[in-house]
């Protein structure tokens, strides 16, 4: 019997010929990422329990992104502890405000060549599942786990069953990967892929850019999945080889691999959707929410703050004004993207429309800073979660949408496609 790409990657990393879903293996880790919110305990574990030495400084990437530029004294202390740790451990791969080149960890990592097909990647952040977009096995872990990976370079994994999601045809104009992934989350439910890998394939996926593929795998966790993955193709290889001289060995699912479940979609059937509060699975057509007036439109995050997300929003906002009184926040995932949108004139389009640029990073995606909502306020956001209180006050509301829907909503003042 054949194996899926996920099973093959875990088997190779665990030094085994084969693995089967449900089996628990200890696998070697290729890349471990650490940010400001979750590293504190991991650092303590290395220092207090494992003699203060990491397993391999070249495989640890330090990316403070959630509360930076330091939003308060406590975050300043967390970031300082992380950077001091990195210096003491001689970790070279640091992307922070201090290096002048920083942003949301999940956008930095692939764009700096640290994500390669066939790797095992872990990060103390749930959206680490995004990195399967380049054919890696990648998953979010906790702080204790991160500390143990820092010290030992390995971690236990329960080999996941895989759900295969095949998307045939071609996405209609105005329909983006965000609409597709929200539709799938709506169909599967928030625990429909619990403990599983979500493997995307089909002509519509082949046609997607790398930025758009990242949106799909980024949100695997929103249906409970352990990871999302897309088999590497020429587009993947070109993207990775342009960014790293490191060697890698891609793996692919066997034709007779076994899947727990298979879903098939026809891309032409898809339409712009939003996820209503308070669940990413609460998905309805965007046009059914025209009665929802918004106070804020937030275009940003690892899910929706990539260059192509801004390009899509800018095409809608070109020559237009946002609805009076609402906030239009432009939050580039990274400083590199920020530079690019300024250079290419997108920045002017957003500012002419009445938008405001927020510094790169996670900001209000998690209600941390940089665009937090008041009680009773409603936002349309290109981010990935809309739980109660996610972007601010517990009595605020978030509708998740594509950058096109977000931009159209900013102009109208109410949700529209």
């Amino acid at each position: 019997m054949g194996m899926t790409i996920t099973e093959k990657i875990l088997a190779r990393a665990a030094g085994k010929k084969t693995v089967t879903p449900g089996e628990v293996v200890f696998a070697g880790v290729d890349i471990a990422l650490a940010h400001d919110v979750t590293s504190d305990l991991a650092i303590d574990i290395v220092e207090k329990d494992f003699g203060g030495q990491v397993w391999d400084p070249a495989k640890i990437i330090i990316l403070p992104d959630h509360g930076v530029p330091n939003k308060d004294i406590q975050v300043a202390m967390l970031v300082k502890k992380l950077l001091d740790f990195a210096a003491a451990q001689k970790i070279k791969n640091i992307f922070s405000v201090e290096t002048g080149d920083y942003g949301v960890c999940h956008t930095m990592l692939p764009y700096r060549g640290f994500v390669r097909p066939g790797q095992v990647i872990v990060g103390a952040d749930s959206h680490t599942c995004q990195h399967g977009s380049l054919g890696a096995f990648s998953t979010g872990i906790g702080s204790t786990e991160l500390g143990n990976v820092f010290a030992t370079g390995r971690l236990w994994f329960r080999v996941p069953e895989t759900i295969k999601i095949e998307v045939n045809g071609r996405l209609p104009d105005g329909v983006l990967a965000k609409d597709l992934v929200l539709r799938v989350i709506g169909d599967l439910g928030v625990d429909g892929a619990l403990y599983m890998a979500m493997e995307w394939s089909g002509k519509a996926i082949d046609a997607l850019s790398i930025d758009e593929r990242m949106t799909l795998t980024n949100m695997a966790i929103e249906c409970g999945a352990k990871s999302g993955i897309i088999a590497p193709d020429q587009k993947t290889l070109n993207f990775v080889r342009a960014r790293t001289p490191e060697k890698f060995e891609p793996l692919y699912s066997d034709p007779d691999a076994e899947y727990a479940r298979a879903l098939t979609y026809q891309a032409e059937d898809l339409a712009p959707v939003v996820a209503k509060p308070f669940s990413p699975a609460n998905v309805v057509p965007a046009r059914d929410c025209r009665d929802v007036r918004v106070d804020q439109v937030y275009i940003g995050s690892c899910t929706g703050g990539k260059y192509e997300d801004f390009a899509a929003a800018a095409r809608i906002l070109y020559g237009k004004k946002k609805s009076p009184g609402i906030r239009l926040l432009i939050v580039p995932a990274t400083t590199e993207i920020q530079r690019q949108i300024i250079k290419d004139g997108l920045y002017d389009i957003f500012m002419d429309a009445g938008g405001v640029l927020v510094s790169a990073g996670c900001n209000a995606c998690l209600g941390y800073h940089g665009g937090v909502l008041a009680a009773g306020e409603t936002a349309v956001s290109t981010t990935n979660r809309n739980f109660r209180g996610r972007m601010g006050h517990v009595d605020s509301r978030v509708y998740l949408a594509s950058p096109i829907t977000a931009a159209k909503t900013a102009i109208a003042g109410y949700i529209t496609d």
Partner: protein, 169 residues
Amino acid sequence: MAGVIKGRAFVVGDNIDTDQIIPARYLTTMEPSTLARNAMRDLEPKYGAFLDAQNKCPYQIIVARDNFGCGSSREHAPIALAAAGIRAVIANSFARIYYRNSINGGRSIYPLETAADLSPVKTGDELEIDLDKLTVKISGGQTFALKDFGPVKEIIDCGGLTAYNKKHG
């Protein structure tokens, strides 16, 4: 791992996410007692108050339905609950990172899965969990079975992943 956990139950429903368990605005520290004072701060009001007026938790066991702990990877969630005095969460299923954090963190806040219908349990019920027999008894009522931990029991028995890795080099 051995023994019996007795305590009062706090009952919630499906999909209790980590933003409800410990909202992001409190994630500027991993210090347990600070997190405990804000545990379940943004929980849906229909479940009642998890903390009393002094920000103390009068419960020892959480009873949930499906997908408890979904959302972020924040280990602050089991840290907050454990420091608030919760010894076990009984649920029909757990979100995987929460489940892993509970086991690997070694904090004696056990994630206990069951296939049983949990609707007979009401907030305030006294429960008795037998971790050896894998049973839960509702005081004056029925007993139901818990699923076993499978291969990760060894990590729990060691007292968490750090202790496990130190023992196994």
